[in-house]
């Protein structure tokens, strides 16, 4: 599709568009997921920029409180459900079948259905801007915060339909998420090529398997809670109706039973990317493959038992609080193990600082910092001060931007050649990296400070006397630098499509099965289904005198 051959006329535009709309090819669906996610990443970024512009100065009047509250609600909801999750699912969709030597996912039609359901969910959510009052004051977009605490979401406090857009948009996309997760799990279990035992799968496949398994069990609590909320709002049920004896706290439990594992759903695929890219640019296999798998399984299980660390301030007993301190701190152990293993991979290697590798190294360092601020928040009394403040916002953006988005950038530089057949421009890439690194740190390092100085989250303005203004200004300036950096990336993506150097099958001298196909791969992936004997089948081919299967 991307490299038109000389002498062959390009097919008409509508025919190609139709191809994409009705496709069941995992590669095209994967790219649609990623494209959709990147589109919403930009939209969510605009929402963030509006907030940062409003907060740059004390007592600012750039937007009304009603609009600001819609901005933070939509920003959070968009970024998690319509930017990060689609990108994560898209990368898994594209790479998992290729890496296990399969020709497609287990259920190609379900794959397409899941994508379109997720897409529909996003459209429903965004229709809220123009439904109702139209764009003035941001229409009837939801303004209850992305975790929509009860009873603020009851009809009494949120009349109209803004909350309903939030509920229904997410319910619909949740169906898509479960479909994709089911597909990934089944594909990994049932579609591997001969010789591809579970212990020989690339780590990206393992981590996406664990991610998909998590998705299967955690999206449902959110779905259930949203069904309950709809019943409350429209059929007079009392699930979260405190006047009738209902509990606002149980919404929090249900939401965070979803919400905490959800962040691992987002971060494990980022770890997957790091685990593929770092070894190739260190010229060594991943350090401690078995432990990496076990640590990830441990993270998956423990993540189901930490949710109430989002609820340290709601008045649980000291025993409950202590339990969640223990479980939350415990999850630091397998996470730390991963950081050490990436370090161990680089140690003793021959590091090549391609743009993809630079993003990975920064992501590892940033994961270290983000993990440590997480430890601080895990100490419940410390969280009694820092919780629901800008310190928490700084912490989770450190993970989401500093680790996940950095890893996604690394993934684009690494796999773009495979997807399009062209190399991305390294000069533009380096500009992207350094500018984004600086912008990221200007914004999110300094964002910890207003939290320490008492600034809570979700406030549309603040008093000048609080001493927060200078820090907010610096944070907002960093956003401008990040925007410039992203422009370098976008320009690179487009420019390279037309002018990039031809990539060939295996531009990075890598070792997993996707590099054995042409770039881009044919629709059917593999003409002959491969047979493998080790974790690095291409290493075995390139080094027949020293194959991996002798040592595994």
């Amino acid at each position: 599709m991307f490299v038109p051959e000389a002498g062959v006329a390009a097919r008409p535009f509508f025919e190609r568009l139709h191809d994409w709309i009705i496709t069941v090819d995992h590669k095209k669906i994967g790219l649609m997921y990623v494209g959709y996610g990147v589109l919403f990443l930009v939209i969510g970024g605009i929402e963030a920029a509006i907030m940062r512009a409003q907060l740059a100065f004390a007592n600012n009047h750039l937007v009304s409180p009603q609009t600001f509250n819609r901005m933070f609600t939509m920003h959070g909801t968009t970024m998690i459900f319509f930017a990060a999750m689609p990108i994560v699912f898209g990368i898994a969709n594209y790479l998992v079948p290729l890496m296990i030597g399969a020709r497609d996912m287990a259920f190609p039609r379900l794959n397409a259905f899941s994508f379109w359901m997720s897409a529909l969910g996003g459209l429903i959510l965004y229709y809220s801007f123009i439904g109702g009052n139209g764009l003035y004051g941001a229409g009837t977009a939801p303004d209850v915060g992305w975790f929509a605490y009860a009873p603020l979401t009851a009809q009494a406090f949120s009349p109209g339909h803004s909350t309903d857009y939030w509920i229904i948009g997410l319910l619909v996309s949740g169906i898509g998420s479960i479909g994709t997760a089911l597909n990934i799990v089944t594909t990994v279990f049932c579609m591997r090529c001969p010789g591809m035992l579970l212990r020989r799968m690339p780590l990206l496949v393992w981590l996406n398997l664990i991610t998909a398994s998590l998705v299967l069990i955690i999206i449902s609590p959110l779905t259930s809670a949203q069904i309950m909320l709809l019943l409350d709002r429209y059929l007079g049920a009392h699930f979260f109706d405190t006047q009738a004896g209902g509990s606002a706290v149980i919404w929090m439990h249900f939401f965070w039973i979803f919400g905490h594992p959800e962040v691992y759903v987002l971060v494990l695929p980022a770890f997957a990317i790091l685990s593929e890219v770092i070894p190739v640019f260190s010229r060594k296999p991943i350090f401690g493959y078995n432990i990496m798998v076990l640590a990830t399984i441990a993270i998956g299980f423990i993540s189901l038992g930490v949710w109430a660390h989002h609820m340290f301030t709601i008045g649980m007993t000291s025993y409950a609080n202590a339990f969640f301190v223990a479980s939350t701190a415990a999850i630091a152990v397998p996470t730390g193990i991963k950081i050490f293993n990436w370090l161990g991979t680089m140690w003793g290697g021959k590091l090549i600082f391609s743009t993809a590798m630079l993003f990975c190294i920064a992501a590892v360092a940033q994961m270290l910092i983000a993990g440590l601020t997480g430890i601080m928040l895990a100490a419940a009394p410390f969280d009694w001060q820092l919780g629901n403040s800008y310190f928490v916002i700084a912490h989770f953006h450190y993970v989401i931007l500093g680790v996940i988005v950095f890893a996604v950038f690394a993934a684009t530089y690494y796999w773009y050649p495979k997807i399009s057949g062209r190399m991305m421009n390294e000069t533009l890439g380096k500009w992207h990296f350094w500018l984004f690194l600086i912008g990221f740190h200007v914004t999110f390092d300094f964002m910890h400070i207003p939290g320490i100085l008492g600034m809570p989250r979700r406030i549309y303005t603040y008093e000048a006397s609080r001493g927060w203004e200078i820090w907010n200004l610096i944070v907002s300036v960093g956003v401008i630098i990040q925007i410039v950096a992203i422009l370098f990336w976008v320009v690179n993506l487009v420019w390279s499509h037309y002018n990039g150097r031809e990539a060939g099958n295996d531009p990075w001298d890598a070792w997993t099965l996707e590099w054995s196909t042409s770039s881009p791969p044919p629709d059917y992936n593999f003409a002959i289904v491969p047979t493998v004997r080790s974790r690095r089948p291409l290493w075995d081919l390139k080094h027949p005198e020293d194959p991996d299967w002798k040592y595994e």
Binding site: G245, F254, R533
Partner: protein
């Protein structure tokens, strides 16, 4: 490429493609179990917390007949699968029909129970916490029975039209898994609603 990686012994074969239907269905069951679990948790959490009646021990009566029918339908569906395995399509059709009938009796029985609760006992979803959690949990289960019956009926029609034979045994088995799941959920719901939290 494949040629040079062929080892001297046969390569180890991972899990076969034919199992993908079952694996996929287990994944769906996992996700659905999670949905039900949250509604069960809500039911247990709110047990005894209603601010006013009617209360469960006043109005609930164990739906013995309905439950027997639903559990029996799991048995009949297994008999149907066995019949199909030996290509006895007509026998399969008869057991399949029994399954639908038993499932339909369960549904009608549930509707009858609800009719009584609403009009005789004045218990609705808005009456109190018991009403809220009862109708939502039992209703969620009933909606899954409806989905199951829809699938069962579709397969019934296809069988009657002659499209179903032994080669579809695997797919029928995958669908039967869903029906067994619906049954298993009823075991939980029955225990929690009519016994434990009464």
């Amino acid at each position: 490429m494949a040629a040079s990686s062929i080892a001297l012994k046969q390569p180890e074969m991972p899990l076969a493609h034919e199992l993908k239907g079952r694996v996929g269905m287990f994944c769906l069951i996992a996700a659905e179990s999670s949905i039900f679990l949250i509604f069960v948790v809500a039911y247990l959490f709110y047990a005894g917390k209603s601010l006013n009646g009617p209360y469960p021990n006043e109005v609930l009566h164990v739906p013995v007949f309905n439950s027997i029918c639903l559990f029996a339908s799991s048995f009949t569906i297994v008999m149907a699968e066995r019949a199909l395995k030996r290509n006895a399509v007509k026998v399969f059709g008869i057991w399949w029909l029994f399954t639908i009938v038993l499932g339909a009796i369960f549904l009608v029985g549930t509707a009858w129970e609800w009719y009584g609760l609403i009009y005789r006992d004045h218990l609705t979803i808005t009456t109190n916490l018991f009403g809220t959690t009862f109708y939502s949990l039992v209703g969620l289960h009933a909606s899954h029975v409806i989905i199951g019956l829809t699938g069962l009926t579709t397969i019934m029609i296809l069988t009657a039209l002659g499209y179903v034979s032994q080669e579809h045994e695997n797919r029928i088995g995958v669908f039967a898994l869903y029906w067994h799941f619906v049954d298993a959920v009823w075991v939980i719901v029955l225990s929690v609603v009519y016994f434990i939290a009464r």
